[in-house]
C-alpha cells in the first residue's frame, strides 16, 4: 500500500515539473514572436521612410535612374519577405542599395545641405539603429529559447510536443565580404 502511494507521489511530481517546463517553453517562444514583431515594426518604419527619401534625392539628381530602381526593387522584395531568413537576405540587399544611394548624394552638395534631406537622413539613421537593437533583442530571446530546447530536462518536453528551434536574424554584409577594389 505504501509503495503505491510513493509511486503516485512520484508521478504527481513529474507531472507538475513537466507542466512547469512546458509553460516555460511556451512563454519563451511567445517572447521570440513578440520580439520579431518589434523588429517588423521598425522595418516597416524604414520602408515608409524610403519613398520620401528617394523623391527628395530625385529632385536634385534625376538621371541616377539605376540607383533609384535598385532601391525600389530591394524595398519591394523586403516588404514581401516571408520567413526570417528571407527577411535577413532582403534587408541585406536593401542596405546595400541605400548605401549606393547615399554614395550618389555625395556628388550633389546642394542636396547634402537640404534641410528635408538631412532630417530624413537622421530619421533613417535612427530607424536603422532601432532595427539593430530590436534585432539584437530578438536574437537574445532566440538564444534563451533555443537553449531551453537543448538542455535537460526541458529537451524531453520539447521533443514530446515538437517545439522547433528558431532562426537567428543574421544580416551578413555580402558586400563587405567582397574584396575592396580601389581605383584612382
Amino acid at each position: 500500500m505504501g509503495f503505491l502511494v510513493v509511486i503516485l507521489i512520484i508521478i504527481g511530481l513529474v507531472l507538475v515539473v513537466g507542466i512547469g517546463l512546458y509553460n516555460r517553453l511556451i512563454t519563451l517562444r511567445n517572447r521570440c514572436d513578440n520580439a520579431w514583431a518589434q523588429v517588423d515594426v521598425q522595418l516597416r518604419r524604414r520602408y515608409d521612410l524610403i519613398p520620401n527619401l528617394v523623391e527628395t534625392v530625385k529632385g536634385y539628381a534625376q538621371h541616377e535612374r539605376e540607383v533609384f530602381e535598385k532601391v525600389t526593387e530591394a524595398r519591394a522584395k523586403a516588404i514581401n519577405a516571408q520567413t526570417v531568413k528571407e527577411q535577413g537576405e532582403a534587408e541585406n540587399l536593401l542596405s546595400g542599395a541605400l548605401k549606393s544611394l547615399f554614395a550618389v548624394v555625395e556628388n550633389y552638395p546642394e542636396l547634402k545641405a537640404n534641410q528635408n534631406f538631412l532630417m530624413l537622413q537622421e530619421e533613417l539613421a535612427g530607424t536603422e539603429s532601432k532595427i539593430a537593437y530590436a534585432r539584437q533583442f530578438y536574437n537574445d530571446m532566440v538564444m534563451k529559447f533555443n537553449t531551453k530546447l537543448q538542455v535537460f530536462p526541458s529537451n524531453l518536453i520539447a521533443r514530446i510536443f515538437n517545439f522547433a528551434e528558431k532562426d537567428y536574424f543574421e544580416i551578413e554584409e555580402s558586400a563587405a565580404r567582397e574584396p575592396v577594389k580601389v581605383s584612382f
Binding site: 520580439a35 530619421e123 535612427g126 539603429s129 532601432k130 537593437y133 539584437q136 533583442f137 530571446m141
Partner: protein
C-alpha cells in the same frame, strides 16, 4: 560580460541576505530580552515602510521637481530620443520619458517606480559634451537600472535600514529601562540573557545602524557595477561607457542641483568633486577606476562583439 552580470547578481543577493540576517538577529535578541520579538519587527517594518512608501510611489515626480528637470521635446535632440527608444527595444522595455536639467556639468540618472513609469534625466552638459558612442553607453547604463527595478531595491534597502535603526533603538532602551514590561513577559521569553550574551546584544544594538548603512551603500555600489555590465550587454560596446565615465569624471564642473538626497541616483556621484576625499566604504558609487577596469575586462576577446551600427555612430551630435 555574462560572468560579470552573474557575479554582481550573486553579490547583491548575498548583501541582502546579510541584511536580513542582521534584522533576524536583532528580532531574536529583542524577543529574548522583552518577549516581543516578531511583533516589534512587524511594527518596525510598518513604520519604516510607511515612511518610505510615499517617496517611492511618487519617486519620479519628487526627484524631477528636486532637480528642476523639464520634459525634453523630440526636436531638441532627436538623436537622444532615437538612442533611448532603441535601447528600450534592446532591453525589451517600454521607452522611458526624457527630461533635461539645464546644467553644463555632464551627468544623468533614471527614476520611476517601475519600467512603465520610468524617466531618464540628462543634463545639457551630457548631450553637448559626449559623443554618440559615449551617450549610448550612459543611456544603456540607466536603462539597465530601470530594467533591474533598482529604484525599488534602493527603497527596500532604505526600509531595511529603518527597521534596523528602530529595532536596535528599542533594544538599547530595553537595556536602559531594565526589564521592559513585566517580569512575566520576560520569563515567557525564556528568561533573562546571560552577561556575555547581553554584552554582545548591546554591541549589536549600538553598531547595527552603522552596519545597516554600510550594507546599503555596498549594495548601491554593487548595483552600479551590475548596471555597467548590463548596459554593455545592450550596446555590446564597453569602450563607449568607459570613455563616457572618464569624460564625466574629468569634468570639474559642479552640478548645481545635486544635493545629498539625490546624489546617489546619478551615474557618477556629483558631490565627490566638491567634497574631496570620501571614505571608501561610504561611497554610493564604486571608484571610476574600478568601473573602467571592469569594463575593460569585458573588452577582451571572447567577451565582446562590437558596436551595432558601425557606420552610423562616429559623429558628434
Amino acid at each position: 560580460m555574462y560572468e560579470q552580470i552573474a557575479a554582481n547578481k550573486r553579490k547583491s543577493f548575498f548583501l541582502v541576505l546579510i541584511f536580513l540576517l542582521l534584522i533576524f538577529a536583532l528580532t531574536w535578541i529583542l524577543g529574548r530580552q522583552i518577549g516581543w520579538g516578531v511583533e516589534a519587527l512587524i511594527v518596525a517594518a510598518v513604520i519604516s515602510g510607511g515612511m518610505a512608501w510615499g517617496s517611492y510611489y511618487s519617486s519620479d515626480k519628487i526627484v524631477l521637481a528636486l532637480s528642476r528637470a523639464r520634459p525634453l521635446r523630440r526636436e531638441e535632440y532627436p538623436y537622444l530620443f532615437h538612442t533611448v527608444e532603441g535601447l528600450a527595444l534592446a532591453a525589451g522595455l517600454p521607452p522611458p520619458r526624457c527630461y533635461l536639467i539645464e546644467d553644463t556639468a555632464p551627468n544623468a540618472f533614471a527614476t520611476g517606480r517601475n519600467p512603465e513609469k520610468a524617466v531618464i534625466v540628462v543634463t545639457r552638459g551630457l548631450v553637448e559634451k559626449l559623443n554618440r558612442l559615449e551617450l549610448e553607453g550612459v543611456i544603456a547604463h540607466e536603462m539597465a537600472h530601470i530594467k533591474n527595478y533598482d529604484i525599488l531595491l534602493q527603497t527596500l534597502a532604505v526600509v531595511m535600514v529603518g527597521v534596523v535603526v528602530l529595532l536596535s533603538d528599542w533594544l538599547l532602551r530595553s537595556f536602559f529601562w531594565g526589564r521592559f514590561g513585566d517580569r512575566r513577559r520576560a520569563k515567557r521569553g525564556k528568561g533573562d540573557l546571560g552577561i556575555i550574551l547581553a554584552l554582545v546584544a548591546l554591541l549589536l544594538a549600538v553598531l547595527s545602524p552603522l552596519i545597516a548603512q554600510l550594507l546599503r551603500l555596498a549594495l548601491s555600489r554593487r548595483r552600479e557595477f551590475l548596471a555597467d555590465a548590463q548596459g554593455v550587454m545592450l550596446t555590446r560596446y564597453p569602450p563607449g561607457l568607459a570613455s563616457a565615465l572618464k569624460k564625466i569624471a574629468q569634468d570639474k564642473e559642479p552640478l548645481e542641483v545635486a544635493n545629498k538626497a539625490t546624489a546617489h541616483l546619478y551615474i557618477v556621484n556629483p558631490l565627490e568633486n566638491i567634497q574631496g576625499k570620501v571614505n571608501r566604504l561610504f561611497r554610493t558609487h564604486p571608484p571610476i577606476e574600478e568601473r573602467i577596469a571592469a569594463l575593460e575586462r569585458m573588452s577582451s576577446p571572447g567577451g565582446q562583439v562590437g558596436p551595432i551600427t558601425l557606420d552610423k555612430k562616429r559623429e558628434r551630435i
